[in-house]
Symmetry: C3
Amino acid sequence: MKSFNDLADFDFEEIGSLLELATRLDQKPEPDALRGKVLSLLFLSPSLRTLASFQAAMLRLGGGSFVISPEMSIHGLETRPGIVMDGAAAEHIREAVPVIASYGDAIGIRAFAERKNLADDLAEKEFHALTSLVDKPWVNMESAVNHPCQSLADWKTMDDLGVPAQGGRFVLSWAYHPKALPLAVPAATVHMAAMRGMDVTVLRPEGFALPEPIMAKAHAAALRSGGTLRETEDRAEAMEGAHVIYAKSWSATSCYGDRMADQDQRAKYHDWCVDEPWFANARPDCRFMHCLPVRRGVVVADRILDGPRSVVIHEARNRMLAQMAVLHRMMGASQ
Amino acid sequence: MKSFNDLADFDFEEIGSLLELATRLDQKPEPDALRGKVLSLLFLSPSLRTLASFQAAMLRLGGGSFVISPEMSIHGLETRPGIVMDGAAAEHIREAVPVIASYGDAIGIRAFAERKNLADDLAEKEFHALTSLVDKPWVNMESAVNHPCQSLADWKTMDDLGVPAQGGRFVLSWAYHPKALPLAVPAATVHMAAMRGMDVTVLRPEGFALPEPIMAKAHAAALRSGGTLRETEDRAEAMEGAHVIYAKSWSATSCYGDRMADQDQRAKYHDWCVDEPWFANARPDCRFMHCLPVRRGVVVADRILDGPRSVVIHEARNRMLAQMAVLHRMMGASQ
Amino acid sequence: MKSFNDLADFDFEEIGSLLELATRLDQKPEPDALRGKVLSLLFLSPSLRTLASFQAAMLRLGGGSFVISPEMSIHGLETRPGIVMDGAAAEHIREAVPVIASYGDAIGIRAFAERKNLADDLAEKEFHALTSLVDKPWVNMESAVNHPCQSLADWKTMDDLGVPAQGGRFVLSWAYHPKALPLAVPAATVHMAAMRGMDVTVLRPEGFALPEPIMAKAHAAALRSGGTLRETEDRAEAMEGAHVIYAKSWSATSCYGDRMADQDQRAKYHDWCVDEPWFANARPDCRFMHCLPVRRGVVVADRILDGPRSVVIHEARNRMLAQMAVLHRMMGASQ
């Protein structure tokens, strides 16, 4: 595997094979699989779960990793091409990325959306600028509009719990959050559920529709898999017979990059906090999913998160297992 | 071993067996003992020795660890139950702790005392809130009123140096320090020395008596072990025939949590800086112990720290060995 | 190998043997060579390449490392002898260094020049204060006037690329930079090239001559190796027939430690930015070397850094390989 950037780069069978490997590595550890192998971890954006789960994944396979993170990148990294570097930044990504990559057998990179220009972010302009500098296998640890490791873990979680693929009803719901958050998780999630063959509903208020190219990509995935995709702001309609509600806040796409306008827009929707009444016409065993971190009492009520519907810890642990499969394919005997 | 939280959870023979294992692992390395095993290290309070010695301990046993520390916990962790998280904190310990624990085979947790309410700290209220979220073996890397890894290392240090258990005279002395420090080390130390069967004296000025429950626990340990326990503010009386003086500053318990009152209280005791005259009627080979970090010229004179009495580096190295034994029992073949 | 502090501590054959080992470890990995071994990494100055390459080097040899860096040294480390520590610093290097060293089988230390007093820095006063506290094998990860790991990597890079030793023409050129930078890299580099037997020219403007003891040491190395050494401010003369230009900015030695005077001094030399015209009378295949990080458009033009002359990524990767050889000699079977 040369890169793990997007579930759309793989077919349904390939995803299935990765998930089988993840399960096998959980049940039958392979502490020698990546002996002497090194994963470079480059975080240009902050992290907790991804930071921890990638390090743990390498260790369990007998390899190791090192971390370069924004707090420690003391030089400041310049990203603009052709610039005269007479300011604060003492190093350019054109040197930093190839060097960091050269110390590893593979590299994971995280860089959130700049959220200045929607078209640039949808085109993954910054992330491509980074990965184009790498000549090793690489993993997308979250880019402007993708988070394939999260999606692979989420897919595995639904498999683990017996949530049906064909005929499974999946609701991706916007939720209130005090800040404008990136599109990476909702974009990756809607595509993942569609690719899995599920009947997918995007539930979101006025002004928070996902950008058209994200929806188009998910539509295409649904067409291939036999799934369906629709969007609505009607909660009851969306939740009808749902197997899963996946909550996530994201930026107002109607005023992308305009923080003040976004604040105004979202201020009306404090009531978009997932709580038991939302589940009135869902399946009785409807699950609650979230990528974490999650704000209690804001995105979701405590009683949901602490109750039997929540599978968020299971999801988070699957991050490690999914990544073990990816790293095994990239650097191990199964590559 | 399910948890390593308090020396009081073990009997004398169990401690002896752990210390034997620590010595054996020092003399006969076992670089495959924890192959493929992962220790999660969660620091909610800062660290240097604990951070380094736990990482080194895992590496020497062939495993590895990852660190989540306050500097990098970019989300800010909320600890209060039932709170609406619309402030700075983006993640609650109810998610963070189980997730971080799920990536490891065991977890170490450090969280210093809040020092708002003495009863809460003595009850380890915050620490229990954290460890109750963990379903893996766990290690107390310093809590409000305990530091079992330090105590195990200190016990080993006295064994290494031939300091007698029965009949050994151990002085735990308060020392001046510009800041009000936690009770964890003195609480753990007084109990450890009493459990070891020593004749223990707590030497401290007016206003700095250790809280009654801490003394009561140490008294109980002394009763079982055949040791004794007393407290005094008379230096000469305390040091009479001493084998060991263990210096440590701690908060004024008479005005716990009141920083200004504590400052007033301690300002009188600048002369509580351990120096050669203190040893006038001690045993000629009386040792100086301290958990580090230590302020030179404030807590102890340079000539003591740099002279033959000091065993502080030996103590600090024993942290690693003691922890290797604990981790071996938790995750290795000896578990 | 007891320490790796200075290429001058080794003879030509010993360097050759280290470089052979580096190449062999690249071609034939030894993922068990340092099984269960620990490298302590103590950074008192910031780092990216050194931080990453040392961690990766240990992992590739089957060992591991832990990092203590300024961002995390929460206590603040006091370095002055005999001080009463009643200020911010809670720990003295006299405790911190031996303790950190005691957790590893070897230790790497980085501490940049203080740049208050040139004689102190030339004598490595601070660095010796640190290393004198260590009773384990240790590596200089950059001190006031040395950077032996960089030099070993640079030597390897020239070997890899077929740059001749005897008769090879090596130009160490000062370059403009907005800040006064340390002398460590230029001092190490001029000595390395002289020791390799090359014809070395130091090209620098008025006021930026390297201190006499640095030049004298390089002269002595040239005498032994059959190389030559000269200095000039005439670019065309320096570059005549050059095989390599090694660019690096450094402090004005005429006003060492005086930041304002240094600014005035360097302000005149904005045009010391390496660009294609510099190479007019060099060998057509003249290489561009730099230790990184490098400021684009300030120290060197983009077209040089992005063109075929640049070998900076190759150099940076060789850091890891050179260090693997050193660590193998210190802790492995080849020691």
